[in-house]
Protein backbone atom coordinates (compact mmCIF):
# COMPACT_ATOMS: atom_id res chain seq x y z
CA UNK A 1 0.00 0.00 0.00
CA UNK A 2 1.14 3.45 -0.84
CA UNK A 3 2.38 5.37 2.19
CA UNK A 4 0.54 8.42 0.89
CA UNK A 5 -2.70 6.62 1.56
CA UNK A 6 -2.25 7.28 5.26
CA UNK A 7 -3.21 10.87 4.46
CA UNK A 8 -6.66 9.55 3.65
CA UNK A 9 -7.31 8.22 7.14
CA UNK A 10 -9.97 10.27 8.96
CA UNK A 11 -9.85 13.09 6.41
CA UNK A 12 -13.52 12.70 5.54
CA UNK A 13 -16.66 12.00 7.49
CA UNK A 14 -20.25 10.89 7.15
CA UNK A 15 -22.32 13.84 8.32
CA UNK A 16 -25.83 12.53 7.84
CA UNK A 17 -27.96 9.55 6.88
CA UNK A 18 -31.40 9.32 5.31
CA UNK A 19 -33.95 6.64 4.55
CA UNK A 20 -37.25 6.10 2.87
CA UNK A 21 -39.49 3.53 4.55
CA UNK A 22 -38.64 -0.06 3.58
CA UNK A 23 -41.66 -1.78 2.04
CA UNK A 24 -42.76 -4.51 -0.34
CA UNK A 25 -44.33 -1.95 -2.67
CA UNK A 26 -43.25 1.66 -2.49
CA UNK A 27 -45.92 2.79 -4.95
CA UNK A 28 -43.51 5.40 -6.33
CA UNK A 29 -40.77 5.46 -8.92
CA UNK A 30 -37.19 4.54 -8.15
CA UNK A 31 -36.23 8.14 -8.94
CA UNK A 32 -38.66 9.36 -6.30
CA UNK A 33 -37.17 6.98 -3.74
CA UNK A 34 -33.69 8.26 -4.50
CA UNK A 35 -34.71 11.91 -4.18
CA UNK A 36 -36.46 11.27 -0.86
CA UNK A 37 -33.44 9.49 0.63
CA UNK A 38 -31.03 12.19 -0.58
CA UNK A 39 -33.19 14.95 0.92
CA UNK A 40 -33.55 13.04 4.18
CA UNK A 41 -29.77 12.60 4.48
CA UNK A 42 -29.14 16.28 3.74
CA UNK A 43 -31.73 17.25 6.36
CA UNK A 44 -30.15 14.90 8.91
CA UNK A 45 -26.79 16.59 8.32
CA UNK A 46 -28.31 20.03 8.82
CA UNK A 47 -27.48 21.07 5.28
CA UNK A 48 -29.41 22.48 2.35
CA UNK A 49 -29.75 20.48 -0.83
CA UNK A 50 -28.02 23.41 -2.54
CA UNK A 51 -24.89 22.49 -0.59
CA UNK A 52 -24.68 19.19 -2.47
CA UNK A 53 -22.06 19.24 -5.21
CA UNK A 54 -21.66 15.50 -5.74
CA UNK A 55 -23.89 12.45 -6.10
CA UNK A 56 -22.85 8.80 -6.23
CA UNK A 57 -24.60 5.48 -6.62
CA UNK A 58 -24.18 2.03 -8.11
CA UNK A 59 -26.44 -0.07 -10.22
CA UNK A 60 -27.33 -3.56 -11.18
CA UNK A 61 -30.94 -4.23 -11.95
CA UNK A 62 -32.86 -1.19 -10.77
CA UNK A 63 -31.30 2.20 -10.01
CA UNK A 64 -31.67 5.95 -10.43
CA UNK A 65 -28.61 7.57 -11.97
CA UNK A 66 -27.01 10.75 -10.58
CA UNK A 67 -27.67 12.35 -13.93
CA UNK A 68 -31.39 11.87 -13.24
CA UNK A 69 -31.39 12.56 -9.53
CA UNK A 70 -29.33 15.75 -9.81
CA UNK A 71 -31.63 17.57 -12.23
CA UNK A 72 -34.69 16.20 -10.43
CA UNK A 73 -33.49 18.04 -7.32
CA UNK A 74 -32.48 21.17 -9.20
CA UNK A 75 -28.77 20.34 -9.07
CA UNK A 76 -27.70 21.21 -12.58
CA UNK A 77 -23.96 21.62 -12.11
CA UNK A 78 -22.62 18.73 -10.04
CA UNK A 79 -18.87 19.01 -9.54
CA UNK A 80 -18.51 15.24 -9.26
CA UNK A 81 -20.69 12.22 -9.75
CA UNK A 82 -20.37 8.47 -9.93
CA UNK A 83 -22.66 5.84 -11.44
CA UNK A 84 -20.77 2.64 -10.83
CA UNK A 85 -21.73 -0.64 -12.42
CA UNK A 86 -22.13 -3.38 -9.86
CA UNK A 87 -24.34 -4.70 -7.13
CA UNK A 88 -23.58 -5.39 -3.51
CA UNK A 89 -19.91 -5.89 -4.28
CA UNK A 90 -19.41 -2.18 -4.84
CA UNK A 91 -21.80 -0.63 -2.31
CA UNK A 92 -18.98 0.36 -0.02
CA UNK A 93 -16.73 1.33 -2.91
CA UNK A 94 -19.24 4.06 -3.74
CA UNK A 95 -18.74 5.69 -0.35
CA UNK A 96 -15.00 5.06 -0.55
CA UNK A 97 -14.81 6.83 -3.88
CA UNK A 98 -16.91 9.72 -2.62
CA UNK A 99 -14.49 10.06 0.30
CA UNK A 100 -11.58 10.09 -2.14
CA UNK A 101 -13.26 12.80 -4.21
CA UNK A 102 -13.89 14.90 -1.11
CA UNK A 103 -10.38 14.32 0.23
CA UNK A 104 -8.98 15.39 -3.14
CA UNK A 105 -11.09 18.52 -3.20
CA UNK A 106 -13.10 17.55 -6.26
CA UNK A 107 -16.29 18.03 -4.30
CA UNK A 108 -17.19 19.08 -0.78
CA UNK A 109 -20.55 17.50 -0.10
CA UNK A 110 -21.32 14.20 -1.81
CA UNK A 111 -24.50 12.26 -1.17
CA UNK A 112 -24.15 8.53 -1.78
CA UNK A 113 -27.43 6.71 -2.23
CA UNK A 114 -28.97 3.46 -3.36
CA UNK A 115 -32.58 3.34 -4.49
CA UNK A 116 -34.42 0.21 -5.62
CA UNK A 117 -37.91 -1.08 -6.16
CA UNK A 118 -36.41 -4.53 -5.82
CA UNK A 119 -39.61 -6.22 -4.69
CA UNK A 120 -42.46 -4.61 -6.57
CA UNK A 121 -40.79 -3.95 -9.91
CA UNK A 122 -37.32 -5.33 -10.57
CA UNK A 123 -36.45 -8.56 -8.76
CA UNK A 124 -32.86 -9.75 -8.74
CA UNK A 125 -31.46 -12.60 -10.73
CA UNK A 126 -33.94 -12.79 -13.54
CA UNK A 127 -36.82 -14.22 -11.56
CA UNK A 128 -39.86 -13.10 -13.48
CA UNK A 129 -38.02 -11.30 -16.24
CA UNK A 130 -35.04 -11.65 -18.55
CA UNK A 131 -31.74 -12.91 -17.21
CA UNK A 132 -28.87 -10.50 -16.53
CA UNK A 133 -26.50 -9.80 -19.36
CA UNK A 134 -23.05 -11.35 -18.88
CA UNK A 135 -21.09 -13.67 -21.12
CA UNK A 136 -21.00 -16.25 -18.33
CA UNK A 137 -24.78 -16.55 -18.24
CA UNK A 138 -24.73 -18.80 -21.32
CA UNK A 139 -22.88 -21.51 -19.37
CA UNK A 140 -25.31 -21.50 -16.43
CA UNK A 141 -28.78 -20.35 -17.33
CA UNK A 142 -29.54 -23.32 -19.63
CA UNK A 143 -29.34 -25.50 -16.52
CA UNK A 144 -31.69 -23.31 -14.51
CA UNK A 145 -28.83 -21.76 -12.56
CA UNK A 146 -29.18 -18.02 -12.52
CA UNK A 147 -30.35 -16.48 -9.23
CA UNK A 148 -28.27 -15.31 -6.25
CA UNK A 149 -29.83 -17.73 -3.71
CA UNK A 150 -28.75 -20.61 -5.93
CA UNK A 151 -25.24 -19.25 -6.36
CA UNK A 152 -24.71 -18.57 -2.68
CA UNK A 153 -26.23 -21.93 -1.75
CA UNK A 154 -23.60 -23.52 -3.97
CA UNK A 155 -20.78 -21.79 -2.11
CA UNK A 156 -22.40 -22.50 1.26
CA UNK A 157 -22.54 -26.21 0.46
CA UNK A 158 -18.83 -26.19 -0.35
CA UNK A 159 -18.13 -24.64 3.05
CA UNK A 160 -20.38 -27.20 4.78
CA UNK A 161 -18.60 -30.06 3.02
CA UNK A 162 -15.13 -28.77 3.82
CA UNK A 163 -15.58 -27.54 7.40
CA UNK A 164 -18.69 -29.24 8.74
CA UNK A 165 -20.65 -26.01 8.89
CA UNK A 166 -24.26 -26.85 9.75
CA UNK A 167 -27.71 -25.57 8.92
CA UNK A 168 -28.10 -24.80 12.63
CA UNK A 169 -25.19 -22.36 12.37
CA UNK A 170 -26.87 -20.50 9.55
CA UNK A 171 -30.11 -20.68 11.49
CA UNK A 172 -28.61 -19.15 14.61
CA UNK A 173 -27.43 -16.21 12.54
CA UNK A 174 -30.94 -15.66 11.17
CA UNK A 175 -32.40 -15.91 14.67
CA UNK A 176 -29.86 -13.45 16.10
CA UNK A 177 -30.39 -10.89 13.38
CA UNK A 178 -34.16 -11.12 13.73
CA UNK A 179 -33.79 -10.40 17.46
CA UNK A 180 -31.93 -7.23 16.48
CA UNK A 181 -34.59 -6.27 13.97
CA UNK A 182 -37.23 -6.61 16.68
CA UNK A 183 -35.57 -3.54 18.23
CA UNK A 184 -35.45 -1.60 14.96
CA UNK A 185 -38.57 0.37 13.99
CA UNK A 186 -37.37 0.53 10.36
CA UNK A 187 -37.14 -3.23 9.96
CA UNK A 188 -39.52 -5.05 7.64
CA UNK A 189 -39.49 -8.27 9.70
CA UNK A 190 -39.68 -7.70 13.47
CA UNK A 191 -41.37 -10.82 14.82
CA UNK A 192 -38.79 -12.94 16.65
CA UNK A 193 -38.03 -16.38 15.23
CA UNK A 194 -36.59 -19.55 16.74
CA UNK A 195 -34.17 -22.09 15.39
CA UNK A 196 -37.15 -24.40 14.86
CA UNK A 197 -38.84 -21.73 12.76
CA UNK A 198 -35.70 -21.52 10.67
CA UNK A 199 -35.47 -25.27 10.20
CA UNK A 200 -39.15 -25.48 9.31
CA UNK A 201 -38.97 -22.74 6.69
CA UNK A 202 -39.35 -24.02 3.14
CA UNK A 203 -36.48 -24.97 0.92
CA UNK A 204 -35.43 -22.47 -1.71
CA UNK A 205 -32.28 -24.09 -3.05
CA UNK A 206 -30.79 -26.71 -0.72
CA UNK A 207 -28.90 -26.08 1.48
CA UNK A 208 -30.76 -22.74 1.73
CA UNK A 209 -34.16 -22.33 3.27
CA UNK A 210 -36.36 -19.27 3.03
CA UNK A 211 -34.88 -17.82 6.23
CA UNK A 212 -31.35 -17.98 4.79
CA UNK A 213 -32.37 -15.39 2.24
CA UNK A 214 -32.57 -11.62 2.47
CA UNK A 215 -35.72 -9.61 1.91
CA UNK A 216 -36.30 -8.26 -1.55
CA UNK A 217 -37.19 -4.69 -0.71
CA UNK A 218 -38.44 -1.42 -2.10
CA UNK A 219 -36.53 1.44 -0.50
CA UNK A 220 -33.67 3.88 -0.56
CA UNK A 221 -30.92 4.93 1.78
CA UNK A 222 -28.35 7.74 1.57
CA UNK A 223 -25.33 9.06 3.43
CA UNK A 224 -23.63 12.48 3.23
CA UNK A 225 -19.84 12.49 2.83
CA UNK A 226 -17.92 15.70 3.49
CA UNK A 227 -14.59 16.77 4.96
CA UNK A 228 -13.98 15.86 8.58
CA UNK A 229 -13.34 19.52 9.32
CA UNK A 230 -16.65 20.64 7.90
CA UNK A 231 -18.54 17.76 9.50
CA UNK A 232 -17.45 18.96 12.91
CA UNK A 233 -19.38 22.20 12.41
CA UNK A 234 -22.59 20.45 11.38
CA UNK A 235 -25.57 19.26 13.39
CA UNK A 236 -24.64 15.62 13.93
CA UNK A 237 -21.72 13.86 15.55
CA UNK A 238 -19.42 13.22 12.60
CA UNK A 239 -18.40 9.66 11.80
CA UNK A 240 -14.91 9.53 10.35
CA UNK A 241 -13.98 7.40 7.35
CA UNK A 242 -10.85 5.74 8.72
CA UNK A 243 -10.32 3.33 5.86
CA UNK A 244 -11.84 2.37 2.54
CA UNK A 245 -10.58 -0.60 0.58
CA UNK A 246 -11.34 -2.35 -2.67
CA UNK A 247 -10.69 -5.96 -3.55
CA UNK A 248 -10.99 -8.59 -6.23
CA UNK A 249 -13.00 -11.77 -6.30
CA UNK A 250 -14.10 -14.62 -8.48
CA UNK A 251 -16.56 -15.19 -11.26
CA UNK A 252 -18.70 -18.30 -11.35
CA UNK A 253 -16.43 -19.99 -13.80
CA UNK A 254 -12.98 -18.80 -12.89
CA UNK A 255 -11.59 -18.97 -9.39
CA UNK A 256 -7.87 -18.26 -9.27
CA UNK A 257 -7.72 -19.26 -5.60
CA UNK A 258 -9.33 -22.59 -6.52
CA UNK A 259 -10.99 -22.58 -3.10
CA UNK A 260 -14.55 -21.31 -3.12
CA UNK A 261 -14.65 -21.24 0.68
CA UNK A 262 -12.20 -18.33 0.81
CA UNK A 263 -13.49 -14.95 -0.38
CA UNK A 264 -11.72 -11.88 -1.67
CA UNK A 265 -12.26 -10.33 1.76
CA UNK A 266 -9.31 -12.37 3.02
CA UNK A 267 -6.97 -10.45 0.73
CA UNK A 268 -8.69 -7.11 1.23
CA UNK A 269 -8.78 -7.21 5.05
CA UNK A 270 -5.05 -6.59 5.70
CA UNK A 271 -5.13 -3.53 3.42
CA UNK A 272 -8.21 -2.22 5.14
CA UNK A 273 -6.95 -2.72 8.68
CA UNK A 274 -3.51 -1.28 7.86
CA UNK A 275 -5.08 1.82 6.40
CA UNK A 276 -7.02 2.43 9.62
CA UNK A 277 -4.11 1.39 11.83
CA UNK A 278 -6.47 -1.08 13.50
CA UNK A 279 -7.15 -4.80 13.62
CA UNK A 280 -10.12 -7.10 14.05
CA UNK A 281 -9.83 -6.81 17.83
CA UNK A 282 -10.54 -3.08 17.60
CA UNK A 283 -13.89 -3.50 15.89
CA UNK A 284 -16.81 -2.81 18.25
CA UNK A 285 -19.62 -3.47 15.81
CA UNK A 286 -19.73 -5.06 12.35
CA UNK A 287 -22.36 -4.54 9.68
CA UNK A 288 -21.52 -7.35 7.24
CA UNK A 289 -23.11 -7.91 3.85
CA UNK A 290 -25.78 -10.54 4.41
CA UNK A 291 -27.52 -11.27 1.15
CA UNK A 292 -27.65 -14.78 2.64
CA UNK A 293 -26.69 -16.23 6.01
CA UNK A 294 -23.55 -17.88 4.66
CA UNK A 295 -22.16 -14.55 3.49
CA UNK A 296 -21.77 -13.44 7.11
CA UNK A 297 -20.28 -16.75 8.24
CA UNK A 298 -17.51 -16.64 5.64
CA UNK A 299 -16.76 -12.95 6.26
CA UNK A 300 -16.35 -13.52 10.01
CA UNK A 301 -13.52 -15.84 9.02
CA UNK A 302 -12.02 -13.78 6.22
CA UNK A 303 -12.03 -10.51 8.21
CA UNK A 304 -10.19 -12.31 10.99
CA UNK A 305 -12.75 -12.56 13.77
CA UNK A 306 -12.34 -16.32 13.99
CA UNK A 307 -10.28 -19.03 12.35
CA UNK A 308 -10.94 -20.38 8.85
CA UNK A 309 -13.81 -22.81 8.98
CA UNK A 310 -14.90 -21.66 12.46
CA UNK A 311 -17.49 -19.11 11.35
CA UNK A 312 -20.43 -21.42 12.02
CA UNK A 313 -19.50 -22.34 15.60
CA UNK A 314 -18.55 -18.68 16.23
CA UNK A 315 -22.08 -17.58 15.34
CA UNK A 316 -23.62 -20.45 17.31
CA UNK A 317 -21.67 -19.35 20.40
CA UNK A 318 -23.66 -16.12 20.49
CA UNK A 319 -20.60 -14.01 19.69
CA UNK A 320 -22.47 -11.92 17.11
CA UNK A 321 -25.47 -11.06 19.29
CA UNK A 322 -26.04 -7.52 20.54
CA UNK A 323 -24.54 -8.45 23.91
CA UNK A 324 -21.74 -10.55 22.42
CA UNK A 325 -18.13 -9.57 21.85
CA UNK A 326 -18.83 -8.67 18.19
CA UNK A 327 -22.37 -7.47 17.56
CA UNK A 328 -23.13 -8.10 13.88
CA UNK A 329 -25.89 -6.58 11.78
CA UNK A 330 -27.41 -4.69 14.67
CA UNK A 331 -30.27 -3.42 12.48
CA UNK A 332 -31.28 -6.93 11.47
CA UNK A 333 -29.37 -6.77 8.21
CA UNK A 334 -30.74 -7.60 4.80
CA UNK A 335 -32.24 -10.71 6.35
CA UNK A 336 -34.63 -8.77 8.57
CA UNK A 337 -34.35 -4.98 8.17
CA UNK A 338 -34.43 -4.83 4.39
CA UNK A 339 -32.20 -5.10 1.38
CA UNK A 340 -30.94 -1.79 0.11
CA UNK A 341 -27.84 -3.34 -1.34
CA UNK A 342 -25.32 -2.22 1.27
CA UNK A 343 -26.05 1.44 1.92
CA UNK A 344 -28.27 0.57 4.88
CA UNK A 345 -25.36 -1.27 6.48
CA UNK A 346 -23.23 1.87 6.28
CA UNK A 347 -26.05 4.01 7.64
CA UNK A 348 -26.55 1.61 10.56
CA UNK A 349 -22.83 1.75 11.37
CA UNK A 350 -23.15 5.54 11.45
CA UNK A 351 -26.10 5.32 13.86
CA UNK A 352 -24.19 2.98 16.16
CA UNK A 353 -21.16 5.27 16.23
CA UNK A 354 -23.26 8.39 16.81
CA UNK A 355 -25.01 6.57 19.63
CA UNK A 356 -28.51 7.07 18.29
CA UNK A 357 -29.42 3.44 17.56
CA UNK A 358 -32.08 3.34 20.29
CA UNK A 359 -32.92 -0.03 21.83
CA UNK A 360 -30.31 -1.78 19.71
CA UNK A 361 -27.46 0.58 20.61
CA UNK A 362 -24.15 -1.15 21.29
CA UNK A 363 -22.84 0.58 24.39
CA UNK A 364 -19.54 2.32 23.82
CA UNK A 365 -19.31 1.59 20.09
CA UNK A 366 -16.38 3.58 18.74
CA UNK A 367 -15.16 1.64 15.70
CA UNK A 368 -17.29 -0.10 13.08
CA UNK A 369 -16.54 -2.35 10.14
CA UNK A 370 -19.00 -2.42 7.28
CA UNK A 371 -18.59 -4.59 4.24
CA UNK A 372 -19.87 -5.24 0.74
CA UNK A 373 -20.62 -8.58 -0.89
CA UNK A 374 -17.34 -10.45 -0.37
CA UNK A 375 -16.44 -11.06 -3.99
CA UNK A 376 -18.42 -14.03 -5.23
CA UNK A 377 -20.17 -13.73 -8.60
CA UNK A 378 -18.80 -10.29 -9.57
CA UNK A 379 -15.03 -10.26 -9.01
CA UNK A 380 -15.02 -7.25 -6.71
CA UNK A 381 -15.53 -6.41 -3.07
CA UNK A 382 -15.15 -3.34 -0.86
CA UNK A 383 -15.31 -2.31 2.79
CA UNK A 384 -15.12 0.64 5.19
CA UNK A 385 -13.85 1.19 8.70
CA UNK A 386 -15.67 4.05 10.39
CA UNK A 387 -15.08 5.57 13.83
CA UNK A 388 -16.32 8.29 16.09
CA UNK A 389 -13.84 11.15 16.63
Amino acid sequence: MSKRLLDFRDRTAIAGVGYTPFTKDSGVSTLTLACRAVLAAVEDAGLSVDDVDGLATHRVGDSAAPTLVGPALGLTDLAWHLDQFGGGSVSHAVVGQAALAVAAGMAETVVCYRAINARSEFRMGGTGRGVPVSPEVQYQAPYGYVAPPQQYAMYARAHMSKYGTKAEHFGQLAVTQRANAAKNPRALMRTPITLDDYLASRWIAEPFRLLDCCLETDGACAVVVTTAERARSLRRTPVLVSAAAWGGGTTHLSDPSADPTVTAAAALAPRLYAQAGLGPGDIDVAELYDCFTYSVVVQLEDYGFCGKGEGGPYVASGATALDGPLPVNTHGGFLSEGYVHGMNHIAEAVSQLRGDAGDRQVVGAEVALSTAQPGYILPATSALILRRP
Binding site: G126, Q140, Y143, G144, M154, E206
Partner: protein, 147 residues
Protein backbone atom coordinates in the same frame (compact mmCIF):
# COMPACT_ATOMS: atom_id res chain seq x y z
CA UNK B 1 -36.23 -28.50 -23.88
CA UNK B 2 -34.29 -25.98 -21.92
CA UNK B 3 -35.45 -23.04 -19.86
CA UNK B 4 -33.02 -20.73 -21.54
CA UNK B 5 -31.28 -20.80 -24.89
CA UNK B 6 -27.76 -19.48 -24.55
CA UNK B 7 -26.80 -16.57 -26.77
CA UNK B 8 -23.54 -17.63 -28.38
CA UNK B 9 -21.07 -14.78 -28.69
CA UNK B 10 -18.01 -14.28 -30.84
CA UNK B 11 -15.82 -15.90 -28.21
CA UNK B 12 -18.05 -18.85 -27.43
CA UNK B 13 -19.71 -19.92 -30.69
CA UNK B 14 -17.10 -22.46 -31.70
CA UNK B 15 -17.16 -24.05 -28.25
CA UNK B 16 -20.89 -24.60 -28.45
CA UNK B 17 -20.59 -25.96 -31.97
CA UNK B 18 -18.03 -28.50 -30.76
CA UNK B 19 -20.32 -29.51 -27.89
CA UNK B 20 -22.94 -30.10 -30.57
CA UNK B 21 -20.55 -32.72 -31.98
CA UNK B 22 -20.11 -34.19 -28.47
CA UNK B 23 -16.63 -32.81 -28.26
CA UNK B 24 -15.37 -31.12 -25.11
CA UNK B 25 -12.64 -28.61 -25.88
CA UNK B 26 -10.82 -25.87 -24.00
CA UNK B 27 -8.54 -23.16 -25.29
CA UNK B 28 -4.81 -23.74 -25.06
CA UNK B 29 -2.51 -20.72 -25.24
CA UNK B 30 0.04 -20.86 -28.05
CA UNK B 31 2.37 -18.71 -25.98
CA UNK B 32 2.54 -20.45 -22.61
CA UNK B 33 0.39 -23.54 -23.00
CA UNK B 34 -2.06 -22.58 -20.26
CA UNK B 35 -5.54 -24.02 -20.65
CA UNK B 36 -8.53 -21.75 -20.19
CA UNK B 37 -12.31 -21.82 -20.09
CA UNK B 38 -14.68 -20.13 -20.83
CA UNK B 39 -13.53 -18.97 -24.25
CA UNK B 40 -11.99 -15.52 -24.41
CA UNK B 41 -9.39 -13.82 -26.56
CA UNK B 42 -6.57 -13.20 -24.10
CA UNK B 43 -4.57 -15.65 -22.03
CA UNK B 44 -4.82 -14.42 -18.41
CA UNK B 45 -1.40 -15.95 -17.67
CA UNK B 46 0.78 -14.46 -20.42
CA UNK B 47 -1.66 -11.92 -21.96
CA UNK B 48 -1.19 -13.01 -25.53
CA UNK B 49 -3.92 -13.71 -28.07
CA UNK B 50 -2.81 -16.73 -30.08
CA UNK B 51 -4.50 -19.99 -29.08
CA UNK B 52 -5.98 -23.22 -30.39
CA UNK B 53 -8.70 -25.60 -29.32
CA UNK B 54 -7.60 -28.71 -27.46
CA UNK B 55 -10.01 -31.57 -26.99
CA UNK B 56 -9.87 -32.83 -23.40
CA UNK B 57 -11.55 -35.53 -21.37
CA UNK B 58 -14.82 -34.04 -20.13
CA UNK B 59 -14.10 -34.86 -16.52
CA UNK B 60 -13.99 -33.22 -13.15
CA UNK B 61 -14.88 -33.58 -9.51
CA UNK B 62 -17.91 -32.36 -7.61
CA UNK B 63 -17.15 -29.16 -5.72
CA UNK B 64 -20.71 -28.47 -4.63
CA UNK B 65 -24.35 -28.87 -5.62
CA UNK B 66 -27.78 -27.49 -4.86
CA UNK B 67 -31.28 -28.88 -5.00
CA UNK B 68 -33.64 -26.29 -6.43
CA UNK B 69 -37.09 -26.31 -4.91
CA UNK B 70 -38.63 -23.57 -6.97
CA UNK B 71 -38.52 -22.93 -10.69
CA UNK B 72 -35.99 -20.15 -10.92
CA UNK B 73 -36.85 -19.75 -14.58
CA UNK B 74 -40.12 -20.33 -16.37
CA UNK B 75 -40.55 -23.83 -17.75
CA UNK B 76 -38.49 -25.73 -15.16
CA UNK B 77 -39.95 -28.53 -13.07
CA UNK B 78 -38.61 -28.63 -9.55
CA UNK B 79 -36.89 -30.10 -7.72
CA UNK B 80 -33.81 -30.18 -9.93
CA UNK B 81 -30.13 -30.45 -9.09
CA UNK B 82 -27.38 -28.17 -10.36
CA UNK B 83 -23.85 -29.39 -9.79
CA UNK B 84 -20.66 -27.32 -9.60
CA UNK B 85 -17.79 -29.26 -11.13
CA UNK B 86 -14.10 -28.53 -10.78
CA UNK B 87 -12.98 -29.11 -14.33
CA UNK B 88 -10.00 -31.44 -14.52
CA UNK B 89 -8.49 -29.92 -17.64
CA UNK B 90 -8.31 -26.30 -16.44
CA UNK B 91 -6.92 -25.45 -13.00
CA UNK B 92 -9.16 -23.13 -11.00
CA UNK B 93 -12.11 -23.51 -13.30
CA UNK B 94 -15.64 -24.47 -12.32
CA UNK B 95 -18.42 -25.48 -14.66
CA UNK B 96 -22.11 -26.09 -14.01
CA UNK B 97 -24.76 -28.41 -15.29
CA UNK B 98 -27.70 -30.53 -14.27
CA UNK B 99 -27.06 -33.74 -12.36
CA UNK B 100 -27.71 -37.11 -14.00
CA UNK B 101 -27.67 -39.51 -11.12
CA UNK B 102 -30.26 -41.50 -9.20
CA UNK B 103 -28.68 -40.30 -5.94
CA UNK B 104 -27.25 -36.96 -4.77
CA UNK B 105 -23.68 -36.06 -5.76
CA UNK B 106 -20.92 -36.40 -3.19
CA UNK B 107 -18.18 -33.87 -2.52
CA UNK B 108 -15.03 -34.83 -4.38
CA UNK B 109 -16.84 -37.40 -6.51
CA UNK B 110 -15.45 -37.92 -10.01
CA UNK B 111 -17.89 -37.01 -12.72
CA UNK B 112 -18.07 -37.07 -16.47
CA UNK B 113 -19.97 -34.96 -18.98
CA UNK B 114 -23.28 -36.27 -20.29
CA UNK B 115 -24.38 -34.51 -23.44
CA UNK B 116 -28.01 -33.48 -23.80
CA UNK B 117 -29.12 -32.71 -27.34
CA UNK B 118 -31.87 -30.12 -27.36
CA UNK B 119 -32.17 -29.67 -31.12
CA UNK B 120 -30.12 -29.11 -34.25
CA UNK B 121 -28.61 -25.92 -32.89
CA UNK B 122 -28.05 -26.68 -29.24
CA UNK B 123 -26.55 -29.39 -27.08
CA UNK B 124 -26.04 -28.93 -23.33
CA UNK B 125 -23.51 -30.51 -20.98
CA UNK B 126 -24.82 -32.32 -17.90
CA UNK B 127 -22.74 -34.34 -15.43
CA UNK B 128 -22.99 -37.93 -14.23
CA UNK B 129 -20.90 -40.19 -11.98
CA UNK B 130 -17.71 -41.35 -13.69
CA UNK B 131 -17.78 -45.06 -14.50
CA UNK B 132 -14.73 -45.80 -12.39
CA UNK B 133 -16.22 -43.74 -9.52
CA UNK B 134 -14.36 -43.03 -6.33
CA UNK B 135 -13.25 -39.84 -4.63
CA UNK B 136 -10.20 -37.81 -5.47
CA UNK B 137 -8.40 -36.23 -2.60
CA UNK B 138 -5.62 -34.67 -4.63
CA UNK B 139 -5.74 -31.86 -7.14
CA UNK B 140 -7.67 -33.27 -10.07
CA UNK B 141 -6.06 -30.92 -12.53
CA UNK B 142 -2.83 -32.87 -12.19
CA UNK B 143 -4.53 -36.15 -12.94
CA UNK B 144 -5.62 -35.50 -16.46
CA UNK B 145 -2.51 -35.97 -18.49
CA UNK B 146 -2.43 -39.68 -17.77
CA UNK B 147 -5.67 -40.28 -19.61
Amino acid sequence: MTAYRPAFDRDSRQWWERVGRREFAVQECDGCGAARFPARAFCPACRTEAWHWREVEPEGVVESWIVNHQPFMPGLAEPYVVVMVRLAAVPGCFVYGNWRGDRPPEPGERVRAAYRRIDEELTLVDWEPAEDGGNLDTHPARRTSSR
